[in-house]
Protein backbone atom coordinates (compact mmCIF):
# COMPACT_ATOMS: atom_id res chain seq x y z
CA UNK A 1 0.00 0.00 0.00
CA UNK A 2 2.73 2.37 1.02
CA UNK A 3 4.79 1.59 -2.04
CA UNK A 4 1.75 2.11 -4.23
CA UNK A 5 1.20 5.52 -2.72
CA UNK A 6 4.84 6.31 -3.19
CA UNK A 7 4.82 5.36 -6.85
CA UNK A 8 1.62 7.34 -7.32
CA UNK A 9 3.21 10.29 -5.64
CA UNK A 10 6.31 9.83 -7.75
CA UNK A 11 4.21 9.76 -10.89
CA UNK A 12 2.47 12.88 -9.69
CA UNK A 13 5.77 14.59 -9.08
CA UNK A 14 6.97 13.48 -12.46
CA UNK A 15 3.92 15.10 -13.94
CA UNK A 16 4.51 18.19 -11.90
CA UNK A 17 8.03 18.31 -13.15
CA UNK A 18 6.76 19.04 -16.66
CA UNK A 19 3.83 21.17 -15.42
CA UNK A 20 0.71 21.00 -17.51
CA UNK A 21 0.80 18.00 -19.85
CA UNK A 22 -0.78 20.33 -22.42
CA UNK A 23 2.46 22.30 -22.50
CA UNK A 24 4.71 19.27 -22.77
CA UNK A 25 5.90 19.92 -26.29
CA UNK A 26 7.64 16.55 -26.52
CA UNK A 27 4.24 14.90 -27.06
CA UNK A 28 3.10 17.40 -29.70
CA UNK A 29 4.41 15.55 -32.77
CA UNK A 30 2.68 12.40 -31.57
CA UNK A 31 -0.67 14.11 -30.96
CA UNK A 32 -0.55 16.09 -34.17
CA UNK A 33 0.38 13.00 -36.17
CA UNK A 34 -2.49 10.95 -34.77
CA UNK A 35 -4.90 13.89 -35.06
CA UNK A 36 -4.07 14.26 -38.74
CA UNK A 37 -4.55 10.52 -39.25
CA UNK A 38 -7.85 10.63 -37.37
CA UNK A 39 -9.18 13.65 -39.23
CA UNK A 40 -8.24 12.15 -42.58
CA UNK A 41 -9.97 8.92 -41.60
CA UNK A 42 -13.12 10.75 -40.52
CA UNK A 43 -13.04 12.98 -43.59
CA UNK A 44 -12.61 9.95 -45.82
CA UNK A 45 -15.48 8.06 -44.17
CA UNK A 46 -17.73 11.11 -44.25
CA UNK A 47 -17.05 12.38 -47.75
CA UNK A 48 -16.95 8.97 -49.43
CA UNK A 49 -19.65 7.05 -47.61
CA UNK A 50 -21.67 8.74 -44.89
CA UNK A 51 -22.52 12.17 -46.26
CA UNK A 52 -23.52 11.14 -49.79
CA UNK A 53 -25.60 8.35 -48.32
CA UNK A 54 -27.40 10.53 -45.78
CA UNK A 55 -27.83 13.27 -48.37
CA UNK A 56 -29.33 10.74 -50.79
CA UNK A 57 -31.65 9.37 -48.10
CA UNK A 58 -32.82 12.86 -47.17
CA UNK A 59 -33.31 13.80 -50.82
CA UNK A 60 -35.17 10.56 -51.45
CA UNK A 61 -37.40 11.19 -48.46
CA UNK A 62 -38.05 14.72 -49.66
CA UNK A 63 -38.83 13.30 -53.09
CA UNK A 64 -41.17 10.71 -51.64
CA UNK A 65 -42.97 13.31 -49.59
CA UNK A 66 -43.38 15.70 -52.51
CA UNK A 67 -44.44 12.82 -54.75
CA UNK A 68 -47.05 11.79 -52.23
CA UNK A 69 -48.27 15.35 -51.95
CA UNK A 70 -48.41 15.62 -55.73
CA UNK A 71 -50.29 12.32 -55.97
CA UNK A 72 -52.73 13.50 -53.31
CA UNK A 73 -53.16 16.75 -55.22
CA UNK A 74 -53.83 14.83 -58.41
CA UNK A 75 -56.34 12.54 -56.73
CA UNK A 76 -58.07 15.59 -55.34
CA UNK A 77 -58.22 17.10 -58.81
CA UNK A 78 -59.62 13.89 -60.18
CA UNK A 79 -62.22 13.76 -57.46
CA UNK A 80 -63.22 17.32 -58.29
CA UNK A 81 -63.38 16.41 -61.95
CA UNK A 82 -65.55 13.42 -61.15
CA UNK A 83 -67.79 15.64 -59.09
CA UNK A 84 -68.05 18.09 -61.97
CA UNK A 85 -68.83 15.26 -64.38
CA UNK A 86 -71.48 13.96 -62.01
CA UNK A 87 -73.02 17.38 -61.69
CA UNK A 88 -72.94 17.84 -65.45
CA UNK A 89 -74.60 14.46 -65.96
CA UNK A 90 -77.22 15.42 -63.43
CA UNK A 91 -77.86 18.74 -65.16
CA UNK A 92 -77.98 17.01 -68.52
CA UNK A 93 -80.47 14.48 -67.23
CA UNK A 94 -82.59 17.29 -65.83
CA UNK A 95 -82.50 19.16 -69.11
CA UNK A 96 -83.34 16.00 -71.00
CA UNK A 97 -86.26 15.31 -68.70
CA UNK A 98 -87.49 18.83 -69.14
CA UNK A 99 -87.13 18.53 -72.90
CA UNK A 100 -89.10 15.28 -72.89
CA UNK A 101 -91.78 16.85 -70.72
CA UNK A 102 -92.06 19.84 -73.05
CA UNK A 103 -92.09 17.62 -76.13
CA UNK A 104 -94.78 15.40 -74.72
CA UNK A 105 -96.78 18.40 -73.69
CA UNK A 106 -96.54 19.84 -77.20
CA UNK A 107 -97.48 16.51 -78.73
CA UNK A 108 -100.47 16.14 -76.50
CA UNK A 109 -101.47 19.71 -77.24
CA UNK A 110 -101.18 19.10 -80.99
CA UNK A 111 -103.27 15.94 -80.71
CA UNK A 112 -105.76 17.78 -78.63
CA UNK A 113 -105.87 20.68 -81.08
CA UNK A 114 -106.36 18.28 -83.97
CA UNK A 115 -109.11 16.47 -82.14
CA UNK A 116 -110.76 19.78 -81.21
CA UNK A 117 -110.53 21.00 -84.79
CA UNK A 118 -111.98 17.76 -86.07
CA UNK A 119 -114.78 17.91 -83.55
CA UNK A 120 -115.43 21.54 -84.44
CA UNK A 121 -115.54 20.64 -88.15
CA UNK A 122 -117.90 17.79 -87.45
CA UNK A 123 -120.08 19.97 -85.32
CA UNK A 124 -120.11 22.62 -88.06
CA UNK A 125 -120.92 20.02 -90.69
CA UNK A 126 -123.68 18.57 -88.59
CA UNK A 127 -125.19 21.92 -87.77
CA UNK A 128 -125.02 22.88 -91.46
CA UNK A 129 -126.82 19.67 -92.32
CA UNK A 130 -129.35 20.27 -89.62
CA UNK A 131 -129.91 23.77 -90.88
CA UNK A 132 -130.32 22.46 -94.35
CA UNK A 133 -132.88 19.92 -93.13
CA UNK A 134 -134.66 22.61 -91.18
CA UNK A 135 -134.73 24.74 -94.31
CA UNK A 136 -135.99 21.78 -96.28
CA UNK A 137 -138.61 21.07 -93.71
CA UNK A 138 -139.59 24.70 -93.69
CA UNK A 139 -139.78 24.75 -97.47
CA UNK A 140 -141.77 21.51 -97.38
CA UNK A 141 -144.10 23.04 -94.85
CA UNK A 142 -144.73 26.11 -97.00
CA UNK A 143 -145.38 23.96 -99.97
CA UNK A 144 -147.84 21.89 -97.99
CA UNK A 145 -149.53 25.03 -96.73
CA UNK A 146 -150.11 26.31 -100.29
CA UNK A 147 -151.22 22.85 -101.44
CA UNK A 148 -153.62 22.53 -98.57
CA UNK A 149 -154.88 26.06 -99.15
CA UNK A 150 -155.47 25.38 -102.84
CA UNK A 151 -157.20 22.10 -102.16
CA UNK A 152 -159.28 23.63 -99.42
CA UNK A 153 -160.12 26.62 -101.59
CA UNK A 154 -161.08 24.38 -104.48
CA UNK A 155 -163.19 22.25 -102.14
CA UNK A 156 -164.80 25.35 -100.60
CA UNK A 157 -165.60 26.70 -104.06
CA UNK A 158 -166.92 23.37 -105.16
CA UNK A 159 -169.04 23.14 -102.04
CA UNK A 160 -170.43 26.56 -102.74
CA UNK A 161 -171.53 25.30 -106.05
CA UNK A 162 -169.18 26.99 -108.24
CA UNK A 163 -166.87 25.47 -110.67
CA UNK A 164 -163.59 27.15 -110.51
CA UNK A 165 -160.84 26.90 -112.93
CA UNK A 166 -157.90 25.24 -111.22
CA UNK A 167 -155.42 27.73 -112.61
CA UNK A 168 -157.36 30.73 -111.28
CA UNK A 169 -157.72 29.22 -107.83
CA UNK A 170 -153.96 28.45 -107.58
CA UNK A 171 -153.08 31.98 -108.64
CA UNK A 172 -155.56 33.47 -106.14
CA UNK A 173 -154.29 31.30 -103.29
CA UNK A 174 -150.67 31.97 -104.08
CA UNK A 175 -151.40 35.66 -104.22
CA UNK A 176 -153.13 35.56 -100.82
CA UNK A 177 -150.37 33.47 -99.29
CA UNK A 178 -147.73 35.84 -100.45
CA UNK A 179 -149.70 38.91 -99.61
Amino acid sequence: MATELETAAAAGHAAEAVGMPQLDFSTYPNQIFWLVVTLFAIYFVLSRIALPRIGAVLAERQGTISNDIAAAEELKLRAQEAERAYEKALADARAEAQRIVAETKAEIKADLDAATAKADAEIAARSAEAEKQIAEIRAGALESVSEVARATTADVIAAMGFRAESGAVDAAVDGKLKG
Binding site: Q31, L35, Y43, V57
Partner: protein
Protein backbone atom coordinates in the same frame (compact mmCIF):
# COMPACT_ATOMS: atom_id res chain seq x y z
CA UNK B 1 -5.77 10.73 -7.69
CA UNK B 2 -5.36 12.09 -4.23
CA UNK B 3 -2.29 11.31 -2.27
CA UNK B 4 -1.15 12.70 1.01
CA UNK B 5 1.97 14.71 0.93
CA UNK B 6 4.85 14.45 3.35
CA UNK B 7 3.57 17.75 4.75
CA UNK B 8 0.19 16.17 5.54
CA UNK B 9 -1.81 18.42 3.19
CA UNK B 10 -4.04 17.15 0.43
CA UNK B 11 -2.29 16.97 -2.88
CA UNK B 12 -4.83 16.47 -5.63
CA UNK B 13 -3.15 15.72 -8.92
CA UNK B 14 -5.66 17.08 -11.39
CA UNK B 15 -3.29 17.02 -14.33
CA UNK B 16 -2.36 13.36 -14.31
CA UNK B 17 -5.41 12.48 -16.41
CA UNK B 18 -4.08 14.59 -19.25
CA UNK B 19 -0.76 12.75 -19.52
CA UNK B 20 0.11 11.40 -22.93
CA UNK B 21 1.44 7.88 -22.45
CA UNK B 22 2.52 5.08 -24.76
CA UNK B 23 -0.09 2.36 -24.98
CA UNK B 24 2.45 -0.44 -24.75
CA UNK B 25 5.13 -0.29 -22.11
CA UNK B 26 7.01 2.74 -20.91
CA UNK B 27 9.38 4.98 -22.72
CA UNK B 28 9.67 8.03 -24.84
CA UNK B 29 6.75 9.27 -26.90
CA UNK B 30 7.89 9.45 -30.50
CA UNK B 31 5.68 10.91 -33.22
CA UNK B 32 4.66 7.43 -34.36
CA UNK B 33 4.21 5.83 -30.93
CA UNK B 34 0.68 4.47 -30.39
CA UNK B 35 -0.43 6.36 -27.29
CA UNK B 36 -3.65 6.89 -25.39
CA UNK B 37 -4.22 9.72 -27.86
CA UNK B 38 -4.19 7.10 -30.63
CA UNK B 39 -6.58 4.89 -28.69
CA UNK B 40 -9.21 7.53 -27.97
CA UNK B 41 -9.00 9.09 -31.39
CA UNK B 42 -9.42 5.61 -32.83
CA UNK B 43 -12.51 5.12 -30.68
CA UNK B 44 -13.84 8.44 -32.00
CA UNK B 45 -13.34 7.21 -35.56
CA UNK B 46 -15.06 3.96 -34.63
CA UNK B 47 -18.02 5.85 -33.17
CA UNK B 48 -18.20 7.98 -36.32
CA UNK B 49 -18.33 4.87 -38.46
CA UNK B 50 -20.90 3.24 -36.18
CA UNK B 51 -23.19 6.26 -36.18
CA UNK B 52 -22.85 7.63 -39.68
CA UNK B 53 -22.09 4.49 -41.70
CA UNK B 54 -23.53 1.51 -39.82
CA UNK B 55 -26.46 3.57 -38.52
CA UNK B 56 -27.48 4.62 -42.02
CA UNK B 57 -26.93 1.23 -43.62
CA UNK B 58 -30.66 0.69 -43.99
CA UNK B 59 -31.07 3.88 -46.09
CA UNK B 60 -34.62 3.76 -44.81
CA UNK B 61 -37.21 6.30 -45.89
CA UNK B 62 -38.64 5.96 -42.42
CA UNK B 63 -35.41 6.02 -40.38
CA UNK B 64 -34.40 3.85 -37.47
CA UNK B 65 -33.37 5.58 -34.25
CA UNK B 66 -29.65 5.62 -35.02
CA UNK B 67 -30.30 6.75 -38.57
CA UNK B 68 -32.44 9.56 -37.14
CA UNK B 69 -29.54 10.72 -35.00
CA UNK B 70 -27.17 10.58 -37.98
CA UNK B 71 -29.63 12.54 -40.10
CA UNK B 72 -30.12 15.01 -37.27
CA UNK B 73 -26.35 15.59 -37.06
CA UNK B 74 -26.16 15.97 -40.82
CA UNK B 75 -29.08 18.38 -40.96
CA UNK B 76 -27.80 20.35 -37.97
CA UNK B 77 -24.35 20.99 -39.45
CA UNK B 78 -25.68 21.40 -43.01
CA UNK B 79 -28.12 24.09 -41.90
CA UNK B 80 -25.45 25.79 -39.82
CA UNK B 81 -23.06 25.95 -42.79
CA UNK B 82 -25.84 27.17 -45.08
CA UNK B 83 -27.10 29.81 -42.65
CA UNK B 84 -23.72 31.15 -41.55
CA UNK B 85 -21.49 30.70 -44.59
CA UNK B 86 -24.10 31.00 -47.30
CA UNK B 87 -24.97 28.60 -50.08
CA UNK B 88 -21.52 28.73 -51.64
CA UNK B 89 -20.10 27.59 -48.29
CA UNK B 90 -21.86 24.23 -48.67
CA UNK B 91 -18.94 23.07 -50.81
CA UNK B 92 -16.90 22.95 -47.60
CA UNK B 93 -19.62 21.20 -45.59
CA UNK B 94 -17.74 17.84 -45.42
CA UNK B 95 -14.72 19.53 -43.80
CA UNK B 96 -16.79 21.30 -41.17
CA UNK B 97 -18.85 18.15 -40.59
CA UNK B 98 -15.61 16.17 -40.08
CA UNK B 99 -14.35 18.68 -37.52
CA UNK B 100 -17.68 18.82 -35.72
CA UNK B 101 -18.12 15.07 -35.57
CA UNK B 102 -14.57 14.52 -34.35
CA UNK B 103 -14.88 17.16 -31.62
CA UNK B 104 -18.30 15.96 -30.51
CA UNK B 105 -17.12 12.39 -30.15
CA UNK B 106 -13.81 13.35 -28.56
CA UNK B 107 -15.64 15.55 -26.03
CA UNK B 108 -18.28 12.97 -25.15
CA UNK B 109 -15.80 10.09 -25.03
CA UNK B 110 -13.72 12.19 -22.65
CA UNK B 111 -16.66 12.19 -20.24
CA UNK B 112 -16.35 8.43 -19.74
CA UNK B 113 -14.62 7.97 -16.38
CA UNK B 114 -11.01 7.02 -16.94
CA UNK B 115 -11.03 8.16 -20.53
CA UNK B 116 -8.49 10.41 -22.13
CA UNK B 117 -9.88 13.63 -23.59
CA UNK B 118 -8.02 14.30 -26.81
CA UNK B 119 -9.63 17.71 -27.25
CA UNK B 120 -8.26 18.88 -23.91
CA UNK B 121 -4.85 19.26 -25.52
CA UNK B 122 -3.60 22.40 -27.16
CA UNK B 123 -1.70 20.30 -29.68
CA UNK B 124 -4.99 18.91 -30.98
CA UNK B 125 -7.22 21.98 -30.82
CA UNK B 126 -4.36 24.22 -31.95
CA UNK B 127 -3.69 22.06 -34.99
CA UNK B 128 -7.34 22.13 -35.95
CA UNK B 129 -7.64 25.88 -35.36
CA UNK B 130 -4.47 26.54 -37.36
CA UNK B 131 -5.69 24.31 -40.16
CA UNK B 132 -8.94 26.28 -40.27
CA UNK B 133 -7.08 29.60 -40.07
CA UNK B 134 -4.60 28.76 -42.82
CA UNK B 135 -7.21 27.08 -44.98
CA UNK B 136 -9.62 30.00 -44.71
CA UNK B 137 -6.93 32.61 -45.33
CA UNK B 138 -5.58 30.78 -48.39
CA UNK B 139 -9.13 30.32 -49.65
CA UNK B 140 -9.82 34.03 -49.22
CA UNK B 141 -6.76 35.03 -51.24
CA UNK B 142 -7.43 32.40 -53.91
CA UNK B 143 -11.04 33.49 -54.32
CA UNK B 144 -10.60 37.25 -54.12
CA UNK B 145 -6.89 37.93 -54.58
CA UNK B 146 -5.70 41.13 -52.96
CA UNK B 147 -9.26 42.37 -52.52
CA UNK B 148 -9.55 39.85 -49.69
CA UNK B 149 -7.69 42.49 -47.66
CA UNK B 150 -10.81 44.67 -47.82
CA UNK B 151 -11.96 42.46 -44.97
CA UNK B 152 -9.82 44.71 -42.77
CA UNK B 153 -10.89 47.99 -44.40
CA UNK B 154 -14.27 48.75 -42.93
CA UNK B 155 -16.00 51.07 -45.39
CA UNK B 156 -18.94 51.54 -43.04
CA UNK B 157 -16.72 53.48 -40.64
CA UNK B 158 -15.66 57.14 -41.05
CA UNK B 159 -12.52 57.47 -43.16
CA UNK B 160 -10.42 58.80 -40.28
CA UNK B 161 -11.17 55.76 -38.15
CA UNK B 162 -10.51 53.20 -40.84
CA UNK B 163 -6.72 52.81 -40.41
CA UNK B 164 -7.13 52.35 -36.66
CA UNK B 165 -9.91 49.85 -37.21
CA UNK B 166 -7.79 48.08 -39.80
CA UNK B 167 -5.04 47.57 -37.23
CA UNK B 168 -7.57 46.23 -34.73
CA UNK B 169 -9.12 44.00 -37.38
CA UNK B 170 -5.75 42.57 -38.38
CA UNK B 171 -4.86 41.84 -34.77
CA UNK B 172 -8.21 40.21 -34.12
CA UNK B 173 -7.84 38.20 -37.30
CA UNK B 174 -4.54 36.76 -36.15
CA UNK B 175 -5.84 36.13 -32.64
CA UNK B 176 -8.64 33.98 -34.11
CA UNK B 177 -6.77 30.66 -34.10
CA UNK B 178 -5.59 31.29 -30.54
CA UNK B 179 -9.07 31.92 -29.15
CA UNK B 180 -10.53 29.27 -31.41
CA UNK B 181 -8.25 26.57 -30.01
CA UNK B 182 -7.85 27.66 -26.40
CA UNK B 183 -11.62 28.04 -25.96
CA UNK B 184 -12.17 24.37 -26.70
CA UNK B 185 -9.09 23.06 -24.94
CA UNK B 186 -9.67 25.26 -21.88
CA UNK B 187 -13.29 24.21 -21.52
CA UNK B 188 -12.44 20.55 -21.78
CA UNK B 189 -9.46 20.72 -19.45
CA UNK B 190 -11.12 22.90 -16.83
CA UNK B 191 -14.22 20.74 -16.58
CA UNK B 192 -12.25 17.56 -16.15
CA UNK B 193 -9.85 19.17 -13.69
CA UNK B 194 -12.72 20.50 -11.57
CA UNK B 195 -14.29 17.06 -11.45
CA UNK B 196 -10.96 15.64 -10.39
CA UNK B 197 -10.65 18.23 -7.59
CA UNK B 198 -14.07 17.28 -6.25
CA UNK B 199 -13.21 13.62 -6.58
CA UNK B 200 -10.10 14.31 -4.53
CA UNK B 201 -12.19 15.98 -1.82
CA UNK B 202 -14.53 13.01 -1.80
CA UNK B 203 -11.54 10.78 -1.23
CA UNK B 204 -10.46 12.53 1.95
CA UNK B 205 -13.79 13.66 3.43
CA UNK B 206 -15.11 10.22 4.39
CA UNK B 207 -18.87 10.46 5.18
CA UNK B 208 -18.91 14.10 4.15
CA UNK B 209 -18.04 12.93 0.67
CA UNK B 210 -21.76 13.18 -0.16
CA UNK B 211 -21.37 16.85 -1.02
CA UNK B 212 -18.48 16.50 -3.46
CA UNK B 213 -20.20 13.52 -5.06
CA UNK B 214 -23.38 15.56 -5.60
CA UNK B 215 -21.24 18.38 -6.94
CA UNK B 216 -19.54 15.97 -9.34
CA UNK B 217 -22.95 14.88 -10.57
CA UNK B 218 -23.96 18.47 -11.18
CA UNK B 219 -20.69 19.32 -12.90
CA UNK B 220 -20.91 16.19 -14.99
CA UNK B 221 -24.31 17.32 -16.27
CA UNK B 222 -22.85 20.72 -17.01
CA UNK B 223 -19.89 19.13 -18.78
CA UNK B 224 -22.27 17.11 -20.88
CA UNK B 225 -23.76 20.36 -22.10
CA UNK B 226 -20.35 21.95 -22.54
CA UNK B 227 -19.10 18.98 -24.56
CA UNK B 228 -21.77 19.61 -27.17
CA UNK B 229 -21.75 23.40 -27.01
CA UNK B 230 -17.99 23.62 -27.49
CA UNK B 231 -18.14 21.38 -30.56
CA UNK B 232 -20.96 23.57 -31.85
CA UNK B 233 -19.01 26.74 -31.10
CA UNK B 234 -15.91 25.42 -32.84
CA UNK B 235 -17.92 24.47 -35.90
CA UNK B 236 -19.92 27.69 -36.08
CA UNK B 237 -16.79 29.82 -35.69
CA UNK B 238 -15.26 27.84 -38.53
CA UNK B 239 -18.37 28.72 -40.56
CA UNK B 240 -18.01 32.39 -39.64
CA UNK B 241 -14.36 32.42 -40.72
CA UNK B 242 -15.35 30.65 -43.91
CA UNK B 243 -17.97 33.30 -44.60
CA UNK B 244 -15.37 36.01 -44.15
CA UNK B 245 -13.18 34.24 -46.70
CA UNK B 246 -16.03 33.82 -49.18
CA UNK B 247 -17.55 37.27 -48.73
CA UNK B 248 -14.83 39.59 -47.39
CA UNK B 249 -16.64 42.77 -48.44
CA UNK B 250 -18.76 43.88 -45.56
Amino acid sequence: MASEDATGGVNIDTMHQFMVRPLFGEGAVHWYTPTNVTLWMGIAVLCTVLLLVMGTRGRAIVPSRIQSVAELAYGFVYKMVEDVSGRDGLKYFPYIMSLFIFIVFANFLGLIPGAFTTTSHLAVTGTMALAVFIGVTVLGFVKHGASFLSLFWITAAPLALRPILAVIEVISYFVRPVSHSIRLMGNMMAGHAVMKVFAGFAGVLGVGAVFPVVAIGAIYALEFLVAFIQAYVFAILTCVYLRDALHPHH
